[in-house]
């Protein structure tokens, strides 16, 4: 009787799970994207006859090719520049003996705590037409135009330094994993440090470099915030523009946007297939029985040594200047920021909290005061609204993605065959550029004909928030799955047997035994997802709805003309303060993930003991309860 009951409940859970995942996969991954694909071929001629290849003809004849070419050009150049900078910063901090390597590393890692739109607006604050460093640069280089920081060059410059985070994460780990004995063996046979680097070290890094190259290429191809803000005609900004356009203005804009997003998807699929095939080969595995820790190599040639140090510190300055300047100016007054001049006597918190009145000269030559127009991040309604919106959407989506993946992984770890189907279904969005998913949602759910969402227009008014959450969840599923699945597979299968043997049912075993083991990984994934989504720009820009105006959208709007007729006052100040706020949030999250979250039970117990001892000492030896 007991067994029958259990079988029944298990069966019911399985059916519910199956229906849910089928709904998610078909309803929010396959059908909307398929709709985008087919919309390319459903255009009609002026006479109303179907013309399936109209868009493709338009593409081949018109200037649409230019956007694809521009994106490809950006991707190729970035592969070169990002790899040069990425490899150098890793070698300078991990392989060669460079003085001040720890400080250099911190500088090079700053892109991990601010990226995307916050980083681009930060660079604009420094180098744009009215940037604080522009006068300095134009004086130093007389040939340099004031408007140098726009278009292709500016995008390459910004993204080169913005996209090295993966190098600092993965290449750094790879180089740290090198067996030092192989370096010693090469040196022993007469190779100089550079020869060792080229012939021994670099070949072992090739798999990691290949993955990084593919990832950088895809990043370049799908770039959104840099081209949008710095004015470069690449695929993504064009898709967003076309999505918001109408047939009254130009020929079949939606179908063209669909074609561009499908082209992007094709490139992504090809690149990821190549990457996966390459990774499966599994080259260059270490054959060492016992690995020796890598020791830093001294550059013996004094000239090369000096040049390496100069190069390292120039890069450090490039990385650190925006960070330092933004932090400093975030505590400067509105006037100081407008004048681009530091006012050492006028430090203020106005860019974060509080308001001030703003006096401006009208076109009639009279002064007018706008009360409270100079406002800080947390006093400005629009900014605070964006923060709240992003906080709620990111937190909900990050949590939902984790819950879905945890449930899925629990199933996948137990059912190899059917679990594989589920795994591939959840990895499916990995093949699709986020813009394709968001564009597809925007067009497909902008209707009351979709029966499986109860004929509700999800793009309409407040409903768009739901659509953004779904887009966030779906795009975060592949990453969450890869991370959480790895955690699930690290659970000793005997633990489940042991719990079962001690009388624990499946739910209790999951909640009391398995979940606590994977919880640090789940929380880490939640935090990393939240971090990425909180300042996410690409997706919310694609939805471009005033009902779903996220923090990144608000930051982007801060780059618009400032102070004209008393509007958008102190946007630069809030921009700086926003970047500082994002750095703090990201810093705390990374600390929680890699610092606190990585602690095991013994470390947590030790920390608890330290806390108890501290309080006991502090509060006069009052006896604290330590017994369970």
């Amino acid at each position: 009787m007991l067994n029958e009951k259990r079988i029944d409940s298990t069966f019911v859970f399985r059916v519910i799970g199956l229906v849910f995942f089928a709904y998610l996969f078909l309803g929010f991954m396959v059908v909307p994207c398929w709709n985008t694909l087919t919309s390319i071929f459903t255009e009609k001629t002026a006479t109303g006859d179907p013309d399936p290849f109209a868009v493709i003809r338009f593409f081949l004849a018109g200037n649409m090719k230019q956007y694809v070419w521009n994106s490809l050009k950006l991707a190729v150049i970035l592969v070169i520049t990002v790899n040069i900078v990425g490899i150098s910063i890793v070698l300078l901090t991990e392989y060669f003996e460079i003085k001040g390597a720890k400080i250099l590393r911190m500088g090079y890692m700053t892109t991990m705590i601010y990226s995307g739109v916050a980083l681009v607006t930060g660079y604009m604050f420094l180098y744009a037409n009215d940037g604080i460093l522009t006068p300095l640069l134009t004086n130093a280089f007389p040939g340099l135009e004031k408007t140098w920081f726009t278009g292709f060059g500016a995008v390459v410059f910004t993204m080169t330094f913005a996209c090295t985070s993966n190098h600092m994460l993965f290449l750094r780990n790879a180089i740290r994993g090198i067996d030092y004995n192989t370096v010693e063996a090469a040196r022993n046979m007469g190779a100089n440090p550079f020869k060792v680097l080229l012939k021994v070290v670099m070949p072992t890094l090739i798999p990691t470099l290949f993955s990084l190259t593919v990832m950088t290429f895809i990043t370049g191809l799908c770039a959104m915030s840099s081209p949008t803000l710095l004015g470069y005609d690449s695929i993504n900004p064009e898709i967003v523009r076309l999505a918001g356009s109408s047939t009254a203005d130009e020929s079949f804009p939606q179908a063209r946007a669909a074609l561009l997003s499908i082209i992007l998807a094709l490139f992504t699929i090809i690149l990821l297939t190549v990457l996966t095939a390459y990774e499966r080969k599994g080259h260059y595995l270490s054959v060492s029985k016992t690995k020796a820790k890598l020791q830093k190599q001294k550059i013996n040639n004094p000239v090369a040594n000096v040049l390496a140090h100069i190069y390292a510190y120039v890069l450090f300055i490039i990385y650190m200047t925006p960070v330092v300047m933004i932090i400093i100016f975030s505590f400067q007054s509105y006037t100081a920021i407008r004048m681009k001049r530091l006012d050492f006597s006028g430090w203020t918190m106005i860019n974060f909290f509080g308001t001030e009145d703003y006096e401006f000269l009208t076109s009639r030559g009279t002064y007018k005061t706008r009360e409270g127009a100079i406002s800080g991040v947390f006093s400005n309604e629009d900014t605070l609204g964006g923060i709240k919106m992003s906080f709620v959407l990111a937190a909900l989506a990050a949590a939902l993605a984790c819950v879905i993946v945890v449930v899925a992984c629990n199933y996948i770890s137990k059912h190899k065959k059917s679990g594989t189907f589920l795994e591939y279904a959840l990895l499916f969005p990995w093949l699709l550029p986020t813009i394709l998913i968001c564009y597809s949602y925007r067009t497909y759910f902008n209707s009351t004909d979709v029966w499986y969402v109860a004929n509700t227009n999800l793009y309409y008014a407040e409903n768009v928030k739901l659509l953004i959450i779904m887009a966030y969840v779906v795009t975060k599923l592949p990453f969450s799955l890869r991370m959480i699945k790895a955690a699930f597979y690290s659970i000793d299968t005997e633990l489940e047997d042991a719990a079962k043997n001690l009388g624990s049912g499946p739910v209790r075993t999951f909640l009391r035994v398995k979940l606590p083991i994977i919880l640090p990984s789940v929380l880490a994934v939640f935090a990393l997802n939240f971090n990425a989504l909180f300042t996410e720009y690409d997706m919310s820009a694609t939805f471009a709805s005033k009902y779903g105006k996220t923090y990144a959208m608000v930051i982007q709007s801060m780059t618009m003309d400032e102070g004209l007729y008393g509007y958008n006052v102190n946007a630069s100040g809030r921009r700086c303060a926003s970047t500082v706020f994002i750095m703090i949030v990201s810093g705390i999250i990374l600390w929680l993930v890699y610092g606190v979250g990585a602690r095991d039970l013994s470390e947590r117990l030790a920390a608890k003991k330290r806390r108890q001892e501290f309080f006991a000492k502090r509060f006069g030896g009052r006896k604290l309860k330590t017994e369970p």
Partner: protein, 316 residues
Amino acid sequence: MIKLNDIVVKFGDFTALHDINVHVKEGEFFTFLGPSGCGKTTTLRTITGFISPASGTVFMKDRDITRVPIEKRNIGIVFQSYALFPTMTVYDNIAFGLKIQKLKKEEIDKKVRDIAKKVDLTDEQLEKAVSQLSGGQQQRVAIARALVTSPSIICLDEPLSNLDAKLRVQLRNELKKMQKEFGITSIYVTHDQEEALTLSDRIAVFNKGYIEQIGTPNEIYNHSATEFVCNFIGDINRLEDGIVAALNEKGAGLDTSWHHYIRLERLHVNRQTDADHFVFDAKVESSEYYGLYIKYTVKAFGQTLRIIEKNDGRNP
């Protein structure tokens, strides 16, 4: 106590266990011994309920438990990896089964502390994370957790295999001592002959899903039933025709239609012999010095023989 009747276990087309019949007596320390993939762990998992046999019956105290769920069998298990829950303290690990039985907090506390005392775990250790304990202490936690719910029998699945040689010997002795103290019926799985011989009251030797022999350590070692058991339990020389004929000439009376084997320690090199020993000439080809004993490789009647001789300082 535990009786397996004609147990057959299949994994798809592969038959892992063929008609296994075992009877483990009350209070006995019974060992399943055999090489990897021979079916010893599968048999243990059939007893514990993790595997359902294709046919056959499992009896516990004459009650058919073949289809009884794992948690209702009242069998304690010590796993190969110990399977201690890493996110719980030692105390919580031991108390886990008692909490599921919904015992009162005070009762749980008493039982946990009682069993901890018996397996030499201190109150301080109970509050630690399992990762803070040594391998030996972890083994004691695993045993305490398995025993705290007062199971009818305890199954130990290669609990010493992850430890280094020295610790293995030390814990083996402790395990035997504990089993005697608790007086609980124990089924032990191992591939280590030495472990099986030193710990067990009786041993079942497994090979390719069959039981080759069940017997006491002495029976298994000195009266091996099959060539496999002979070879698996300790080193042995198989006597070829030439040497058998030579021994028969000296009056050994060996039946030439059978294969004959001799343990390495039953052969001696240059020793004063008793009347029941046979003496023949052989050429020492090599010797390996082990301190406590010396291993010789000799050639006699065209056959290579291996010999272990105790090192008493008079060896050649």
